[in-house]
């Protein structure tokens, strides 16, 4: 029961794009959801998973479903910043005069796939920083805007740590979500085998263009959020900080540094997209709870004890959400329930 035409269009576009992606990708509904939410919320998404689970394929399929330019950078240790953002090269015109001309790097695309982003050096990784945050890059003293919408999808492999450079916290914070690509279930594995070992290939249609994406991004920001939902978000973010007086025990014990305000923005923006995608005009508490792990797992820095104990940040986030919910909503409704 959708009242607003824009919302109706958003819902149909969202469902269409998801259907296109699911023509190729088997399972991984939560990862597909995170990527689509990131796209419409205006953020970037980091996909983490073992090799062969379809991270790159998912992003390529998504790019095919969008009528947008796409480029892929395979990050390697010898990749340089100029290889990403571009550089000034000497060009000779027909009259033999030489002049500098900016050669655009692969970052100048609507959708950028940064494959195995943790294999490049921190210097090269940081070349993405300005583009991800500001939507522009500065080369040779000139700031050049990136095409809009600009959407970075990065992948990294968590198990091959040798020869990698873990992303610094500042870079991680630029990603709206970090999605974990898990191993498929046996039914999904069977479907993957069937789809990938037969001669037929799925045809992906372009269902959304860049203009629509930008319109949807504006629409997302109109979705109202109730005060108690906003308060819950603030409490969740605060509860990730060990020095906060009401932080849960797990946070105090295992966390060195909690989530930044970008974590709260990610949760609210993501929740708005999720609400619209379900045909709802408001953000609910369940939206926040559903997206808390994706928005916060890469923003919580464990301390030595947490690293040594092998604590999963998802466990910390789960406890933090539970604690925040008890503090806010449930405490107020203690008799009413």
């Amino acid at each position: 029961m959708v009242q607003d035409a824009r919302v109706q269009r958003f819902v149909s576009s969202y469902e269409a794009l998801r259907s296109e992606v699911r023509k190729v990708i088997v399972g991984h509904d939560d990862v597909i959801g995170s990527v689509l939410i990131g796209l419409f919320a205006g953020g970037h998404v980091l996909l983490e998973g073992a090799p062969g689970l379809g991270k790159t394929l998912l992003i390529r399929t998504l790019a095919e479903g969008l009528d947008l330019s796409f480029s892929r950078i395979q990050f390697t240790p010898d990749l340089m910043p100029a290889d990403i953002v571009g550089t000034n090269i000497i060009v000779e015109d027909a009259e033999g005069r030489k002049y500098f001309e900016f050669q655009h790097g692969p970052i100048f695309a609507h959708i950028l796939l940064a494959d195995e982003v943790n294999r490049a050096t921190p210097k090269t990784q940081s070349a993405l920083l300005e583009g991800m945050q500001e939507g522009s890059v500065t080369v040779g003293g000139a700031t050049r805007p990136l095409p809009a919408p600009f959407f970075v999808l990065a992948t990294q492999n968590p198990i091959e740590m040798e020869g990698t450079y873990p992303l610094p916290e500042a870079q991680l914070d630029r990603f709206l979500f970090k999605a974990r690509v898990r191993y498929p279930a046996i039914e999904e594995l069977n479907a993957i085998i069937d789809r990938t070992t037969q001669s037929s290939h799925a045809e992906i249609s372009r269902v959304i263009d860049g203009k629509a994406v930008l319109e949807f991004r504006e629409l997302v920001r109109e979705v109202p959020v109730a005060d108690h939902v906003r308060d819950l978000v603030s409490l969740i973010v605060m509860a990730t900080h060990p020095e906060w007086e009401r932080a849960p025990e797990e946070t105090r014990k295992f966390v060195r540094y909690g989530a930044s305000p970008r974590g709260a923005q990610a949760m609210v923006l993501g929740a708005k997209v999720r609400a619209l995608a379900e045909g709802r005009y408001n953000v609910s508490v369940d939206d926040i709870k559903a997206l808390a792990a994706s928005a916060l797992r890469h923003r919580i820095i464990l301390n030595f004890e947490g690293e040594a104990e092998g604590i999963d940040t998802d466990r910390i986030v789960g406890r933090v959400v539970e604690s925040a919910e008890q503090t806010s909503v449930r405490a107020k409704e203690v008799f009413l329930r």
Binding site: V2, P224, V225, A226, H228, R280, Y281, V283, L336, R337
Partner: protein
Amino acid sequence: MADPVALERLVRQVAGEVRLRRAEYYGLRGMFYGALAAVAFLALKAALGAAAPFLAVAAVLVGLAVGVGVGLGLATPRGDLARLADRACGLEDRVATALEWIGRPHRPPLVDALIQDAAERVERLRVQGLVGRRSPREARLLPVPILAALVLAVMPALTIPSGTLPGLSGAAEQQAEPERAQSTPVATEAQNKTEPVKPVGAIDERDIVRTSGTGRSEARDRPALFKDTALNGQRPDFNRFLQKGDDRLRLLDQTNKLPDLESDYTRTEYKTVARQANELATGRKPEQMSEDKLKDVLEQLRKMGEKSGAESEQLAEQGLRALREGQQEKALDKMNHALNAERQSDDNRKGALNLQGGRRGDTARQSPDGGESRQQAAVEQDEPGAAKGKLPGTGPGPQPKGDPTSRLNAQGVETSLEGDRKDGAKDSLDLNMYGSAASVPSRSQYVGAFEQYRKMMEDAIAREQVPRDYQTQVKEYFRALGER
């Protein structure tokens, strides 16, 4: 603009249900406490008379009324009610968000759509029983006071006990006695006239003659003296108790009868060395002893001898010389002699300073042969060679072969000892002991395990698995283990 009437109506309905549930909740609580008051009123039926049942019923009703009033009067914020409606109806925070944004001046277009969407959903709902019933803990306990009140209502009135405290002085007891006699219906008048109150413990023959509850004399019933009834009329004599406490305090002034704390809790230099020597010599042959430790003990004895001027200095010098010549047996013998000399010197010094303490002095005074008592005390303090006659071959004693050692567990008859003076330069005895072996745990397992771990230690150090800073400590640890 969308019409929020349905949302307001839903919130009002939820508010009404909340008030009702709260009235039930607090009403049950109030009824419980009212029932407790009713029990109290009925327990005081004797004092309150015919008004008690009415008061009890009134207490229950008042408690119920107050609870219901509190429940109805409690206010609930509108936002909480809206959230409750959202949760109860599965509206995913639509109502709460819509009602919150409805009054905001600058609202995006989506808010109108939200209000309309929420209102239409609410219209389709069948709103009933949104708020679940909650019963307080007192509701489960409510039958207890109700039943108690009913029982008390049908029972006769309870008697009220007097709440006076017993007096602490004999005068107060004597003063209180006539009052007690008056309030005790079973007491006889003869007892009131003739029996002054006696302190506990001062029972004489006359106490046997007591009157029972029926007023009949039972002079022939002597066991009745030990029954509780004989002491029933008496009170504890606190004055006597205090006097005994004063006597005990006076005893503390007699310091010569106090335990010898100096002797028990201080360690002289001699005792320290004697303990080391004892640990060194126990259970080992001379060639198994640590040469370094033996040398340490002899050095300490020599220094003590220097200070005290005792013969132990020369004996320790001789022992050290023997040790340098590789005669450990002789060195050990000299060490024992030096210890004896030092012990004698220590005893003399204590006697001169009058530091032997009351307990040891008392023991010596009470015993016909004070020397033996002192030897016994020395044995208790683990002084080697101190208890002559108590160990086999150590001098005169009640048994010609000496008392059995504790290790042999009092089987002295199975042990015999003979000695021959060795010819030549050695100034020592060859001792041969005959007897059945003692039942002690074998050390072979320990030795085997120790050798195994010692090799592992050497291997670990050779492979540099042990940090360099700790290698010396590890070696020292194993060396100390090996010497045992």
